[in-house]
Amino acid sequence: MRTLADAYRAAGGDWVDTAVAGNEQARAVALSRIVGNDAPAAALFNASRQFRELIDQGLLITLDDVAQREGWDAILPEPILNAVRVNGHYYAAPVSLHMPTWIWYSKAALRKAGVEREPTSFAELFVALDRLKAAGLIALAHGGQAWQDNIVFRAVLANLGGRELYLKAFRDRDAAAIASPQFREVLTTFKRLHGYVDAGSPGRNWNDATALLISNRAGFQIMGDWVKAEFSSAGKLPGRDYGCIPGFGAHSPYIIQGDAFVFPRSGSAATLRAQKLLASAITGKATQLAFSALKGSIPIRADVDVSTLDQCARLGVSIMKDRSRQLGNDETWLTPDQNGALADILTEYWNRDLAVSVVQQRIAAALAD
């Protein structure tokens, strides 16, 4: 966040911070303040449907001029563009692109367990997990929080179920797809992964799980690319100490999720200018490069020179260039409510032994309306 603040200040703006730890709480505060006529000048949301209602209520300014000037249509990937461009107008300035379902592994841990190569399919993954378990290590480092359970599920759905099933389930909310045997297999594989986490997993924060990889006590973690910041601050390098698998197979989907700033209307010309300034500052090339390097994300712009980013980021960027592999995050199509309901069901299934058919039914019901 400091990179953004610096860039904004460098462009002549004045940054006043209201920090709130925890994404949901921050959004809660932002929403409350907007309702309470004390709207912040900018608020960070996910590039999803989260702020759709804000748009519908006419509470956000449009950024069409900034978008034209910077050529957003050309440089932003499609899922993000769909989130920030509504009815032809642009309402949010994307900050970063993340892929939430990378599979990370600690090279030392894998070596110790006798796993020779990166797994390239779920079958190989389970073999590797078994070996890690046998070697007395934590096979899958996982933080038992609902959103993290959701990430693991999406990883399985994208890689095992495939792009078609993913879209049918999340974009079309097709009940038949959810009741299908393929979906069932995704769910059971998801549940099977639960057998490889350690007892202390429930409630654990994601960075504590990454710490297990860093200290070579665990083998794998399924998490977004923001873990790279943890690795770097511990002095670990990709390729040498840890590895990153974007997915199984040469055409595995690349799920795109992003953060974006929205700018509530304020009625003040000075604020409007400041908001536009912030929007162009954070989407500028230099800022994007600096931010991505620190956060572990990928620049939102396709025209940034990424040779200075680490190899996992470069891998991500090159995959993203292939539009057929771009896949939106479930939040792109599901309302926050549906997404939340799905997370509730998944986290309960992860922790409790339920019949798969029951889970399928519940998911279909949750995504129905």
Binding site: A28, G144, A199, G203, P336, D344, N351, A365
Partner: protein, 295 residues
């Protein structure tokens, strides 16, 4: 002259109660009615004024997480109130006899009430974490089979919330009961000693019934704590593992903002208020009848 004074006194009394009336009617009643209205609509992040009947309530009661939350709250409420009352009472009995270190000990038992769960949540997580806290420590002492992993156990996570909140509130119950014991006539203690009544019998059959009022006050305060349970859950388990320790207030909060469904949240809120009403109704009625005072 006195009549005029009395009249102006009454008027002033009415005036003085205006803030309370405002708060009670506009804020509390108003908020409840507003919630009710929203729960009958299809509002998402912002209120809309359509009318969908009881659809939100139907959705609410077919929601696994909500039903689970209600059950959890009921279980929690029973355990919490019972444990606090018993432990607070026992502590009061023990301290009442102890003259020398009474003051310091009282502070030891009361200090948790001064701390919020934002502060203590993390520590409780550590203490109850099987790999870090009590289980690990006891195992290191040699009891290698000792298990205390309730925090991460589906079926027992709720009990950890009970433990932490009982730790926080028992001191208050103890203080209230202690104060009550102070008000008991010295003759009773003396008579008990002379008759050589064993202490436990004295406390159970004689003193405790005389403490009915402090017990009632303590129970009332504890019940308000149960209804508002939120901080401890968020700080310790975030409702997990899975949905094992979900509570209604968390459901409402999550749906107000994160899930952008204030209609569903309001339906939950209305149900909560109704439950509180049902619980409080007999109490209020009893009080209203007993406190009819002559002018």
């Amino acid at each position: 002259m006195i009549t005029r004074r009395i009249d102006s006194g009454l008027r002033r009394a009415h005036l003085a109660l205006v803030p309370m009336a405002l708060v009670a009617l506009v804020c509390y009643l108003g908020a409840t009615l507003w919630s009710l209205r929203i729960s009958l609509s299809s509002s998402r992040s912002f209120p809309v004024s359509d009318f969908v009947g009881l659809a939100q309530y139907r959705r609410l009661f077919s929601n696994e997480r909500w039903l689970h939350s209600l059950g959890n709250l009921a279980t929690y409420g029973l355990l919490f109130v019972a444990a606090c009352l018993i432990i607070g009472w026992l502590l009061a009995i023990l301290i009442e006899r102890e003259v020398r270190m009474g003051g310091a000990l009282r502070l030891v038992f009361l200090y948790p009430y001064a701390m919020s769960f934002i502060a203590t949540g993390l520590v409780w997580q550590w203490l109850l974490n099987p790999g870090l806290g009590i289980q690990e420590a006891v195992r290191r002492w040699g009891f290698s089979q000792f298990r205390f992993d309730w925090l991460v156990d589906q079926d027992h996570a709720l009990y950890t919330i009970v433990i932490a909140t009982v730790w926080q509130a028992s001191g208050l119950v103890m203080t209230i009961l202690l104060a009550g014991m102070r008000g008991i006539d010295a003759d009773i203690w003396r008579a008990a000693r002379i008759d050589a009544v064993p202490a436990w019998r004295l406390h159970l059959w004689v003193i405790a019934p005389m403490l009915a009022a402090p017990f009632a006050t303590a129970t009332l305060l504890l019940l308000t704590g149960v209804a508002k349970l939120y901080d401890a859950v968020v700080a310790m388990t975030q409702g997990g593992p899975g949905t094992a320790s979900e509570v209604p207030t968390k459901f409402i909060m999550d749906h107000l903002f994160g899930r952008a469904n204030i209609a569903l949240a309001s339906a939950g809120a209305t149900v909560l208020v109704l439950s509180a009403l049902i619980v409080m109704m007999p109490l209020i009625y009893a009080r209203a009848r007993s406190s009819r005072r002559p002018a």
